[in-house]
Amino acid sequence: MEVHLSDAERVFIVHGVQEGIRNDGRGASDYRPIRVETGVLSTTLGSARVRLASTDVLVGVKAEIDEIDCKQTEKKGRIRFFVDCSANATPLFAGKGGEEMAEFVSTALTDAYSNSKALDLSKLVVSTTKAWTIFVDVVVLECGGNLTDAAALGAKAALADARLANVRIKASDSEKSEIELTDDAYFDSWQLDVIMAPLLVTVNKIGWSNVVDASLQEEVCTKSALVVGVASSPAKGDLVTLVRQTGRGSLEPDSVDEMIALGVRAGNSLNRELDRILADIGRTQTNRNELVSAAGFLSS
């Protein structure tokens, strides 16, 4: 995020985008190359690494059994998001620098997932008083623009990769209950259904045009952006789960409509591609007895 542009460079980028020409030759609704890998961390129940050009995020999913909030009418589990912008990502994140950005991304993820259609939280219930709480931790390794979208991609992929063990709760004599696991907790496990998990698409307003997936330089030229959370499936169509306006500028009401429409279109194709890749990964994980040695993911 340490990008300094002269006025001439700013004007060059803005005028180019308004003509439909971005610096790297992309169209307004094109994403930069994305690489997603799952199962990269052995200490987590599910993990994913997303590389969106030079933006690099690592997401780990852990789960703990916790008391159900007795004030809720429906019994369900919880999901919590934490984002950590490490100082490696950019020197500006050292110390408390990355807190604002981390706060923004984690709030956006929490709000986008906080509807009943995203994840079926009632499946997380294990007994009348206990349910799983899922923790999704995002670590930003490198920031090359468009952190929000990369974090959301990572969160969805990591949740798809997560395996939760089947547990049985036995009520014992004392107040504490006993948790029973089968001998082979890895195989006696289940996965979350993430088909309706939302992805976040940041639509930036540069000049009078709207673009998706802004690079660092394009972000500097953005006065106002709209983060749109989109969930889509062939059966249920597109659903918008989050809209958040960010940036120091204001927008025309018509622009808001256009930006949301662009976000939904981009989110739809992003969702479909990610679902396809996750399905492929699921199919190729054939022999789970094989020990997969990590080749050092930061090297490739």
Partner: protein
């Protein structure tokens, strides 16, 4: 003194709603709740305002421009001023005096998650409206205290804070007006809902829109829940129309406060 580990309020066991008339009593769901605003309510603050939207009540005070005290990480080197927003919920503002799990580890006096989020939203919403480039290397303190939260807090806070800023004489491009809206499951939209009115209905989405009425510029557009893009478009349109209805009331409140200030004491 520490609270017992697990205590439940009485309302958890009773089914009765509060005795105050609820929003659902109103025939027309396209009407907003009764609205009241007054500026210059606090003697000690440079600018202040008090707002009531239905049963949601909050007061906002503004101080500044003054020297920057909050550490910021932006590489801007403060070429523009900044807004420092603090939000506080009064302990009795909600039906239940609860502390959520997320807040269990915070120190007393630190803002809760909800307060931090609301402060960030207010700051984002007001920044486009204030002429920040006229106050470089300075900050404006905005303190919001929510006395009662019965829905639509963000909207009320934005209107109240922008009135307080105007009352303080801070240079602004325009006022900020806002309204919220809930989409109930059969695509029915309820404008400016209160929490009691939404208590027994399945909400599929809630939308808050803030705009600068004279310039017709949207400064905040927030949606949560899950709704189709078409429904969302209609909801944003409806919320924008409702914002504009409040303009004459806010203008009147500010004119009244100017008259009161200029009256010889």
């Amino acid at each position: 003194m520490r609270l017992p580990a697990s205590s439940l309020p009485l309302s958890h066991f009773t089914q009765s709603s509060s005795g105050l008339p609820s929003h659902s009593d109103r025939q027309n769901t396209a009407n907003m709740r009764p609205f009241f605003i007054r500026a210059n309510v606090l003697e000690s603050a440079k600018g202040s305002a008090y707002i009531e939207m239905g049963n949601t009540k909050l007061v906002c005070s503004v101080d500044g421009p003054k020297e920057i005290t909050v550490s910021s990480d932006s590489g801007d080197a403060y070429s523009e001023g900044i807004l420092n927003v603090r939000v506080k919920f009064a302990v009795f503002s909600h039906q239940e005096r609860t502390v959520s799990d997320a807040d269990a580890h915070r120190r007393i006096g630190d803002p809760t998650e909800l307060e931090t989020k609301l402060a960030a939203n207010i700051q984002d919403g007001l920044s486009p409206a204030v002429c920040l480039d006229r106050i470089p290397r300075a900050q404006i303190d905005i303190n919001c205290t929510i006395l009662e939260d019965q829905g639509g807090v963000l909207s009320a806070a934005l209107i109240c804070a922008s009135s307080a800023l105007a009352d303080a004489g801070i240079d602004m491009y325009d006022l900020v007006l806002s309204s919220s809206l809930a989409v109930v499951d059969n695509d029915q939209m309820i404008v400016d809902p209160s929490t009691t009115c939404l208590a027994d209905k399945p909400i599929s989405g809630s939308v808050t829109v803030a705009l600068m009425p004279s310039l017709n510029q949207v400064v905040t557009c927030e949606q949560s829940g899950a709704c189709s893009p078409e429904t969302l478009r209609k909801a944003i349109r409806l919320a924008t129309e409702c914002c504009v209805k409040l303009h004459p009331l806010v203008q009147k409140a500010l004119v009244t406060s100017v008259r009161l200030r200029s009256r010889p004491k």
